[in-house]
Every structure is written in structure tokens, then in C-alpha cells.
């Protein structure tokens, strides 16, 4: 039950090989789904194309609820990639966790704070980039002193708080889900026949709930990304 992380030192950087594996798998799954959906494209959509167009419309609606499409359109592909990648990542850890030689290989990549904080930092960084790009350095800088100049320190704190909450919310939800699944399956189910029987029902319930939480978290991550973007990009805030 002691789970090690397979960490390798390469060029002075620590690589968690399980993370590397799961990031690759999640990306590959997302890419394969996208590729299958758009293999046969037609003016009259059918099958998987409908599904993918539904996802695109979903993300489009998220963007439209926070800013107008003229400025928000450029974030469509970002939101699409985020929501699909995070959803698939959240789902990957649910069916099983592969432990080989006391090292944990198969899990949700989003159950690692490093991964989620990386995504969050990337999103916040992008929001600053687009803020400067679309409004100019002057307007972007002035935004830190609005609506009141004395709020400037709070604005600075807000940026870090945004990054932390965005990353840790996702991490916490998924990690908690996996911990409880590990406890139910790895702990209770190993404690004899009675324990195994007792573990079945809560495991099923918790897995269902985890699917729900995983979907909601993917949605929330995408939604908040667009909210932060709109905050930096639009003029009326």
C-alpha cells in the first residue's frame, strides 16, 4: 500500500513519470476523440460530429455568457481544449489505479497539484497576456487601480489567489475523490469478505459522484478561465 511516485531526474528537472504517462494518455484520448469526431465531416452532421459540435457550442455558450463573441472567439479553442482535457483527465483515474512495484502509475493527472497549478498559472498568465495585447499596456496597468486606487494591493493578491484557487479547487476535488476510492477499494475491500461486501455499495455511489464532480470541475475550470479572461480583456470592468 505504500505508493511511491516514479521520479526521474533529467537535465536537473524532476520528472514524475506517472504524471508524464497520464498527461500523454489524456492528451492522446482527447486527440483521438477529436480526430474520430471530425473524420467524416458533412454539412449535415451525423454521429460523432454532432457530439463534437455540441461540445463546441457548449464552450461557445460559456464564452458568450462572460464576454461578447468578438473578443471571446479567440479563446474558443483554448476553452475547448481545457474542458476536454480536464474532463478526460478527471475520468481516467476513476476506473482503476495501477500500482506496479509499489509505485503508482495510473491515476488522474489532475489529482496532482503540480499539474492543476500549471494549468491555472498558464490560464492566468494568458489572461494577462491578452489583457496587454487587447487593451494596451496603459489600460492594462490602470486596471489595477480601478475602481479605487487603494485597492491596488488587493488586486495583486487577487491574481495569486485566482491562480491558487483555480488550480487547487480542481486538484482538491479530484484528489479527494481518488483518495476515497483508494480507501474504499484498497483498504476496506482488503479487510476480508465482509469488508469487500460492505465496500461495493459506497464504491459504486462514490464513483458515480466522482463522475459528476469530474464533469462539474471541468466545466467550472473552463468557466472561470473565461471569467478571468473577460475580466482582463473587456473594457467595462
Amino acid at each position: 500500500m505504500h505508493h511511491e511516485a516514479p521520479i526521474v531526474d533529467f537535465l536537473g528537472l524532476n520528472f514524475n513519470l506517472s504524471n508524464v504517462l497520464m498527461i500523454t494518455v489524456a492528451s492522446a484520448v482527447v486527440f483521438i476523440i477529436a480526430l474520430l469526431s471530425t473524420r467524416r465531416m458533412a454539412m449535415k452532421p451525423a454521429g460523432m460530429q454532432n457530439f463534437f459540435e455540441w461540445i463546441m457550442d457548449f464552450v461557445k455558450n460559456i464564452i458568450n455568457s462572460t464576454m461578447d463573441w468578438k473578443t471571446g472567439g479567440r479563446f474558443h479553442i483554448l476553452g475547448l481544449t481545457l474542458i476536454m482535457y480536464i474532463f478526460i483527465s478527471n475520468m481516467l483515474g476513476l476506473p482503476f489505479a495501477i500500482v506496479y512495484d509499489h509505485t503508482l502509475w495510473w491515476k488522474s493527472p489532475t489529482a496532482d497539484p503540480v499539474i492543476t497549478l500549471t494549468l491555472a498559472a498558464m490560464v492566468v498568465g494568458l489572461s494577462h497576456y491578452y489583457g496587454v495585447k487587447l487593451k494596451g499596456v496603459g489600460e492594462y496597468g490602470k486596471d489595477f487601480f480601478r475602481p479605487m486606487p487603494f485597492l491596488f494591493p488587493l488586486k495583486i493578491i487577487e491574481e495569486f489567489a485566482n491562480t491558487l484557487t483555480l488550480g487547487l479547487r480542481l486538484y482538491g476535488n479530484i484528489y479527494a475523490g481518488e483518495i476515497l476510492l483508494t480507501l474504499l477499494v484498497g483498504g476496506l475491500a482488503h479487510a476480508g469478505v465482509g469488508g469487500m461486501l460492505a465496500a461495493i455499495l459506497p464504491t459504486i455511489v462514490w464513483q458515480g459522484f466522482s463522475i459528476f464532480v469530474g464533469s462539474i470541475q471541468a466545466f467550472i475550470f473552463c468557466m472561470l478561465t473565461m471569467v478571468y479572461m473577460a475580466h482582463k480583456v473587456s473594457h467595462d470592468h
Partner: protein, 173 residues
Amino acid sequence: MLTNSLVLGAAGGGFNGGDILYQLVMFIILLALLKKFAWGPLMGIMQQREEHIASEIEAAEESRAEAKKLLEEQRNLLKEARTEAQGLIESAKKQGDVQREEIIAAARTESDRIKESAKLEIEQQKEQAVAAIREQVASLSVLIASKVIEKELSAADQEKLINEYIQEAGEKR
């Protein structure tokens, strides 16, 4: 035992810079791939569909307007044809009236002419008959005179003779 398994997500010792880098790179690659293979073409086709629908609606509206225009045209043509036919009938009627008048007038003059000529002929005939009678009377009186001279009769006889001749002349005629 359980506390150990709780380090599921923790990275252990050291800074996990490699994961961060790898995640970033993979995300950007995934983004680029999705954009190239899924998002781009799908957006294209969605755009195309939008345009198609818009153009279809436009075409439908256009053809509707055209149909309306044609209908109006046909209606006008029909109306025109109807009035034309009405006019034709009207003029034909008028012409018929005129013709009738003409024919009647011609017949009248013709009959007048025939009547005139018939009268003239009758007059001529009468004159001819009167002339013939006059001639006959003259020759008869010459005849009677010659008879009277021939016989030298008494008055009674003379009368009787004259009557005889007159009767004779009447019978002859």
C-alpha cells in the same frame, strides 16, 4: 499504512519542474493538434453551414418574390385579355349595327328605285294603250263614215247601222 497511501498526489522531495514543463508542452501540442484537426475544419464547416442556410433563406425569399411578381403579371395579363375581349365584342356589335343600317338603307333605296321604274313602265304602257285606242277609234270612224256615205240611209236605218257597227266593233275587240 493509510497515511502513506495518502501521499498519492504529493510529489515527494524536490521541485517537480519537469512535470510543469511537460504539462505545458503537452497542452500546447494538444491545443495545436485540436486546432489543426478538429477545431479548424469544424469551424469551417459550421461557418459553411451558416452561410449555406443564409443563402438558402435568401434564395427562398427571392423565389417567393419572383413568384409573387409573376402572379401579379399573370393577373394583369388576364385582366388585359378580358378587357380586350370585351372591347372586341363591343366593336363587333357596333359594326354589326352599322352594317345592318347600311343594308337596310340599301334595300330601301333599291326598292324605291324598283318602284319608280315600275311606275314609269305602267305609265308608258297606259300611254301606249291610249294611243292604240285613239288610232282604232279614228280608223273606225273613218270606216263608219265610209259606210254611211256608201248606203245613204234613213235616220232609223242610220241609227240602226251605227249601233250595228258599234256592236261589231265591240265584238271585234
